[in-house]
């Protein structure tokens, strides 16, 4: 493990964290779970005592042949990715990184996935198991380090995206993937309508596409796979080469598009595959189509209900990425249907009776 230890400080503070949770439970003190504090913008502000996870870091085990890595939640994403890259492997969901301090625990808790998502799967799809601190401060293990495991309820995947509102993630086991042998990114001039048509057409073919975006009259594609198929597809699509850093800038929101003017909020529209452009009063230049059109970034001053109604009509939902900015929505996530909300509350009440875990981070009511 010395080789891996170079990437991430190896420190297990699970016992201390359990003590802190236990005491918060006893004193009914809300906790704000903090990793690298790079994703605090995502969701509602949490008023609570900080539970610092960053020191709980290091790779617990990594067996490249098993395609499994187990890592402590406070481990920096960059450190984990470097350790995997050494063995020519990667996290399949291409997690966004909003700063060097970004941790793997935060990546799973927020459940965000990068450009590869529609082809490879989301954060939760790669989670095999977790260790979780419960409200009583007990450290429990769910799932495991094997690819297939259907014993008991899938609590590990439930934790992905729950934003720390159901328990504290301390360790996570992932299925990892080999880094593809060949990669090539390209750009093609094409209008939006034709681009969406082309994406649907390409999507029905077994092509080695692992990212597809459209913006300002250009389609951006990433091909990954074996050398033969990537070069054959590249020849067939015939575009201009594109630097791979484009995808990182889209993933991490460092692309120029994500510069907002004072009256704009940043929204993420999540829509079914092959959804036509929504009838919203937004200039084309202020929309960035990612995930072959399933994830659309929008800069707008339109209000939440207008955006959400348009998304709902198309079978999707809208999330505000700048809830604190002028024109942002105080409730960043789309409100839940009444029945679904009832079961969210029930679940929260069962797993966090006193509301100590990131209260109101997702929704004001819990």
């Amino acid at each position: 493990m010395t080789e891996l230890a170079m990437h991430a400080a190896d420190r297990d503070i699970a016992d201390t964290l359990c003590d802190q949770v236990r005491s918060a439970y006893e004193t009914r003190t809300p906790l704000r779970i903090v990793g690298g504090d790079t994703r605090a913008f995502y969701g509602r502000p949490v008023d609570g005592q900080a539970l610092q996870m960053a020191e709980h870091s290091g790779i617990v085990s990594y067996d490249p042949v098993e395609l499994v890595v187990t890592v402590r939640a406070g481990t920096r994403l960059s450190a984990l990715q470097a350790a995997l890259a050494e063995k020519h492997q990667m996290l399949g969901f291409e997690p966004p990184m909003f700063g060097e301090a970004s941790t793997i625990g935060g990546a799973v808790a927020t459940g965000l996935s990068g450009p590869r998502r529609p082809w490879a799967g989301a954060a939760r799809d790669f989670v095999l198991g977790t260790r979780v601190i419960t409200q009583e401060g007990k450290l429990l293990r769910f799932g495991g380090e094997v690819m297939k495991n259907v014993a008991g309820y899938d609590l590990s995947r439930l934790m992905a995206g729950a934003q720390g509102t159901l328990g504290v993630l301390t360790d996570i086991s992932f299925k990892v993937l080999p880094i593809p042998n060949a990669t090539h990114s390209l750009r093609l001039p094409i209008n939006l309508e034709d681009a969406l048509k082309k994406l649907a057409e390409l999507g029905r073919k077994p092509l080695p596409i692992t990212a597809a975006a459209w913006h300002n009259g250009e389609l951006f594609l990433r091909l990954e796979g074996g050398n033969s198929s990537v070069s054959a597809t590249q020849a067939q699509l015939n575009g201009e080469p594109l630097d791979a850093s484009f995808w990182t800038s889209l993933r991490d929101h460092t692309h120029d598009f994500f510069q907002l003017s004072d009256d704009q909020a940043l929204w993420r529209l999540s829509l079914p595959p092959h959804t036509s452009p929504l009838a919203l009063d937004i200039p084309e230049a202020d929309i960035f189509y990612d995930w072959a059109g399933c994830q659309r970034w929008v800069k707008t001053s339109l209000d939440a209900s207008t955006l959400r109604a348009a998304c709902a009509a198309a079978g999707g939902h809208a999330t505000c990425y700048t809830p604190h900015a002028q024109g942002g929505a105080a409730d960043p996530f789309t409100p839940l249907n009444k029945v679904v909300e009832k079961y969210h509350r029930n679940l929260k009440a069962e797993l966090d009776a006193h509301g100590i875990f990131n209260p109101s981070r997702l929704y004001a009511a819990f």
Binding site: V68, G121, L140, I179, S228, P272, F333
Partner: protein, 499 residues
Amino acid sequence: MNILFDERLDGELVQRDKSEVLSDLQQAVPDMTLLHREEDLRPFECDGLAAYRVLPMLVALPETLQQVEGLLKRCHTLGVPVVTRGAGTGLSGGALPLEQGVLLVMSRFNKILSVDPDARMARVQPGVRNLAISEAAAPFGLYYAPDPSSQIACSIGGNVAENAGGVHCLKYGLTVHNVMRVDVLTIEGEHMTLGAESLDAPGFDLLALINGSEGMLGVVTEITVKLLPKPETAKVLMASFDDVEKAGRAVGDIIAAGIIPGGLEMMDKLAIKAAEDFVKAGYPLDAEAILLCELDGVEADVDDDCDTVRRVLEAAGATNIQQARDEAERAKFWAGRKNAFPAVGRMSPDYYCMDGTIPRRELPRVLKGIAALSEESGLAVANVFHAGDGNMHPLILFDANKEGQLALAEEVGGKILELCVAAGGSITGEHGVGREKINQMCSQFQPDEISVFHALKAAFDPKRLLNPGKNIPTLARCAEFGAMHVHNNELPHPDLPRF
């Protein structure tokens, strides 16, 4: 320790008079088929785990959502348990009825509602057969990836309940990775949609939670699945080994070479013989183990990968490597594997199929352990293995007509699962816990973890009316189980009350 529902261990059920429940439900849901005569109930007394049979109080065969809703609301009011069943092919007794319960059979919900080739998804009812989805998608060059061996017969609703797998999981995932959205009726009869046609939905990932929840949290009434473009080509290599351990190591070597095969299966000598006798797949009878490695994708890449895998297999000591020359031979190679269970069934009056998973590196050690258990018990064990993802299917051969052999087979099975847990694995990779592995759950999970599972259940079904007794054992059952499995003079759960 018997796995049949035991109120003393599994919790009390409301006692209701059958005729009273029957007339109540007939009145509440007048147009629904409700079976109550013994001869009509008999076909529903078991699922794929046929060693266990219980006659349900009533069998409901609804055809509309309103009927399911009406039935659930009434059962909720009466406190009558509901066991939901799809095609009844499950191997863990997940749809084993309860004497005091209604068996809700969803098989009449068998329509494919839509196939959208541009969005690459299909909306289907829960009673639709797994294979029927791929058949409906085939004209568009698409298919539904998870392919449990029972795919001709098993229903997609059951697949969701069990989070079903198949031989292509390592590359294409389980059911949970391929379902986008489900409509659910709660035990109170409320309609709820989990997931979405978009790639995510707001709130908790209840879609992930419902997959594999074995009918304990709600009744799935509609499913939207993801469809994939059919790979341009699939080629299969068969490698023979004179030693099982070498075959096991070769599996790791293939993955280490950066290749994720579409399917990677292993069979031991006894399974090879059974399959060869049954379907004449062309398997080498002198081999101790064979590996079937399927590579799929774009033609040119597959050819490159075949070369790589061939080199890896040679280096790993394969005594013979054969690539299927054409589609017919490829189908023949797979026929042996897909028919391995019935093939073993021809060798022995009965067999008991296990479903443990392990980290692949533990394979040699676990196989040795299984061989020792086989020798000790005198029961032969054939090993069929989804090698790529560490999912073992040891088949324990026995004769139920011989006194004590079923119990012995179950005992050996239980010990095999404990070996898997000790190796860092799981008691079930794809068949589910159901009733079959209810006791072994106590060896995989601590009482505190089981309590969290009960809390999850309580959030959805506090009266414990949906499939009671399945999937999650009570702490009382674990205490009883622990008392019978004293290791090194230590009780596993000394803090729990005992009976």
